[in-house]
């Protein structure tokens, strides 16, 4: 195995179709901006890229086949390099990073571009793309009608029952997230909000409110990764990829992803995310308490409470207290989503795994400005996607 490093990262600020940030830019234009920035950051020319590992989008570009990496290569100039298009729902960016990492670690390529971008349709994501009674997601929507946020609010409601979590405590997670995004030039929302404002926003899915759920966004992110040996030609301070992992859901997961499952023996939620993160700890030899900060998939504030406990970053039932004590802020003892997270960026679905790599890199370089985690040494990233997909990565300086 070769050691893999992140040489450069880039991002197009997230926004909403028609706004002043992204206007009517195509996904290719958004990706182009992120890729150009990453190449410049790395000091690498397009000709030096040996392969592309791209997230496949269901919503934009890719010729309708998820060939988003091919769009980028055509736009940058066709050099004949191999292109890998990875599909894993909202975890696709994480998968693309994992495949890029594996190609470099395995010595197949020395310099790889990882990229993800989206132009999202308005409103709630249509989770099932099929009109087919053999598709479990179709059945779930046709027979019940469970838009994405209801999955999260079901979990949030149960947490309120199990731990006495209040709506005010959940609102405080959003307040922290939006405070982080103040001054983050890439965040869609850069204005702080108060607990009162969060609690005054309407329910999208009771008990979760508009300000507590990430909207969909347009945006793109890119990373140039290479072998540590090659990196020496470009930089004195590369960021090391300690590991990158992928996992899928376990049969004993406690929350049905289609219509039904066996009543579980225990409360093993998000088994895909937990497996990916536990594998990352195992492979890197870095434990949960050695993590300086985490970028996790906060589709809603609930995940900032549940995930740190499930992964051993803190004790069970402790998360609300940590939020209230300011310990999940960048200057706290367990910083979560110093970028501002999905709640502040909105979700450009397949870009998010790469977006996290960019934020981890900026944090570990000490380039994160007002949201900088002091003395950030090790960062953890995690994504989740439809189909029971998840990814994790640990980066260190």
């Amino acid at each position: 195995m070769q050691e893999v490093v992140v040489l450069g990262v880039g991002m197009h600020r997230f926004g909403k179709t028609g706004d002043a940030i992204v206007g009517n830019k195509s996904v290719t234009e958004l990706c182009r901006a992120a890729v150009d920035m990453a190449l410049k950051d790395a000091g690498v020319s397009w000709r030096q890229i040996e392969a592309v590992s791209a997230a496949s989008s269901r919503f934009s570009g890719g010729k309708g086949w998820g060939l988003n990496g091919n769009d980028i290569v055509e736009d940058m100039g066709s050099t004949g390099i191999p292109v890998y298009n990875l599909s894993a729902g909202c975890a696709a960016g994480g998968n693309a990073f994992n495949v890029g990492y594996s190609l470099v670690a395995g010595g197949i390529h020395d310099m790889v571009l990882v990229v993800g971008g989206e132009v999202m349709p308005k409103g709630m994501i249509q989770t099932s793309g099929l009109d087919d009674v053999n598709d479990p997601e179709f059945l779930r929507q046709a027979c019940v009608g469970m838009p994405g946020p209801t999955f999260w609010s079901t979990l949030a409601r149960r947490r309120m029952y199990d731990y006495g979590t209040t709506e005010e405590q959940m609102a405080k997670v959003t307040v922290k997230a939006r405070q982080c995004a103040v001054g983050n030039p890439y965040a869609r929302f850069q204005k702080a909000v108060t607990v009162e404002e969060v609690l005054a926003s309407p329910y999208v899915s009771d008990p979760l409110r508009l300000f507590e759920i990430c909207p969909v966004s347009n945006g793109a992110a890119a990373a140039i990764i290479c072998s540590a040996a090659m990196a020496r030609r470009f930089t004195r301070k590369p960021i090391t990829v300690a590991t990158s992992t992928v996992a899928t859901i376990s049969f004993d997961d406690a929350l049905p992803r289609s219509l039904a499952g066996p009543v579980p023996a225990g409360s093993s939620f998000h088994t895909e995310a937990k497996s990916a993160v536990m594998r990352a700890f195992e492979r890197s030899g870095i434990g949960p308490r050695e993590i300086s900060f985490t970028e996790l998939q906060d589709n809603t504030c609930y995940y900032e409470l549940a995930f740190p406990e499930e992964w051993g970053l803190c004790d069970e039932g402790e998360a609300e207290r940590l939020v209230e004590a300011g310990d999940t802020a960048p200057t706290g003892r367990m910083p979560i989503n110093p970028s501002g997270g999905f709640v502040s960026f909105g979700e450009a679905t397949t870009a998010m795994g790469v977006f996290q790599i960019a934020e981890l890199t900026w944090q570990l370089r000490g380039e994160a400005g007002a949201r900088q985690v002091p003395n950030a040494r090790v960062g953890l990233a995690q994504t989740n996607g439809l189909g029971g997909n998840a990814t994790a990565a640990i980066l260190k300086r």
Binding site: L139, Q141, C143, G145
Partner: protein, 137 residues
């Protein structure tokens, strides 16, 4: 009750002999399924011997949520949209199943006893299209 009723998706549930969900159970490992798959999907089950099983009766509300806004297609509903509650229910017969709840969020509490019912979820062309739901017992 004179309106014509039709399942929103055929073959998944029945109203004869009381409401039931048409699933399966593996004779080898006991795993319950709804809907019925072709094979047992448990990675720990060496055999696969599925028999049809109709899940019925009561259960306990494990958690619930509310669709405060209309879901995108393929969900269908009667206009104007009215928010509805979605329950995750642990049936006494060993199945954890999702379904719409009859009643509002204010009526719900985690741990409540519920019963399986078949009820319209939308109307089209003079017909009521039904699905399974749960009602507080």
């Amino acid at each position: 009750m004179s309106e014509l009723r039709e399942p929103c998706v055929p073959g998944l549930f029945s109203e004869e002999n009381g409401p039931s969900l048409l699933g399966a159970r593996c004779r080898c490992c006991g795993t319950p399924y709804f809907p019925a798959p072709a094979h047992c999907r448990s990675p720990d089950c060496a055999g696969s011997d599925l028999e049809p099983h109709a899940f019925s009766g009561g259960g306990v509300l494990w958690s619930y949520s509310v669709a405060n806004f209309a879901p995108p297609p393929p969900h269908k509903f009667d206009a104007p949209f009215k928010p509805y509650v979605i329950g995750v229910v642990d049936l006494d017969q060993g199945l954890r199943v999702v379904g719409q709840m009859i009643g509002t969020a204010d009526d719900m509490r985690v741990g409540a006893r519920v019963d399986l019912v078949i009820d319209p979820i939308y109307h089209r062309d003079g017909k009521a299209f039904t699905s399974w739901k749960f009602r507080l017992a």
